[in-house]
């Protein structure tokens, strides 16, 4: 499978759908900060990986796919759920990358915060892409 960028898909997304995602993500970041200041960084860090944006994204993906099928005169219920399930499968791979990101930050941040951030981002890409390749191979 070849990964492609399809900019025309951006036109299908309405403005409020971006607003929902940004608002949920931003709100969760603020909440994680508040939790960290009240309960400490371990619990605060947990909530940095809280699925705040995912429910809205999966629902919107299901809706878009269903509508696309319905435009073609077909029932898109099954297709919409399958598209959202694929998004969830991708989120599993991204989560593994996020765990690698967190491990690198945990190990290196005391030496150099900026270097830790760069290496952690590289670890995220490496682990997520590797997991995707393994999934393709299986």
């Amino acid at each position: 499978m070849i990964v492609r960028l399809n900019p025309s898909a951006l036109r299908d997304i309405r403005r409020y759908e971006y607003v929902v995602r940004f608002a949920m993500g931003g709100a969760m970041t603020v909440i994680a900060g508040l939790i960290a200041s009240r309960f400490g960084p371990v619990i605060g860090g947990l909530f940095l990986a809280f699925p705040a944006i995912f429910p809205a994204s999966a629902t919107l993906i299901e809706k878009h796919e269903r509508k696309r099928k319905e435009k073609a005169g077909l029932s898109g219920a099954r297709r919409g759920k399958e598209a959202a399930a694929l998004d969830a499968a991708g989120a599993v791979l991204g989560s593994l990358g996020l765990a690698a990101f967190a491990v690198v930050i945990w190990l290196l941040t005391e030496q150099s915060a900026s270097l830790a951030l760069v290496l952690a981002a590289a670890a995220w890409v490496a682990v997520a892409v590797f997991a995707w390749l393994v999934r393709q191979w299986l």
């Binding site: 860090g45 429910p55 299901e62 599993v92």
Partner: protein, 52 residues
């Protein structure tokens, strides 16, 4: 954050399963699986670092 990421992976896997095998709606799958995120995140943190 490491435990949160592991919980997020478990959560996403459960959502994928609910959507693919049980054909529930995205809203129902993503919201009901939040329980999984809390169970894994808080359970793993309590096991490793003690109760908050």
């Amino acid at each position: 954050m490491i435990m949160g990421a592991v919980a997020l992976a478990s959560y996403s896997w459960v959502v994928c399963l609910l959507l693919k095998k049980f054909m529930v709606t995205s809203w129902a799958a993503t919201l009901s699986a939040i329980v999984v995120w809390f169970a894994v995140a808080l359970g793993a943190s309590a096991a490793l670092f003690g109760a908050p």
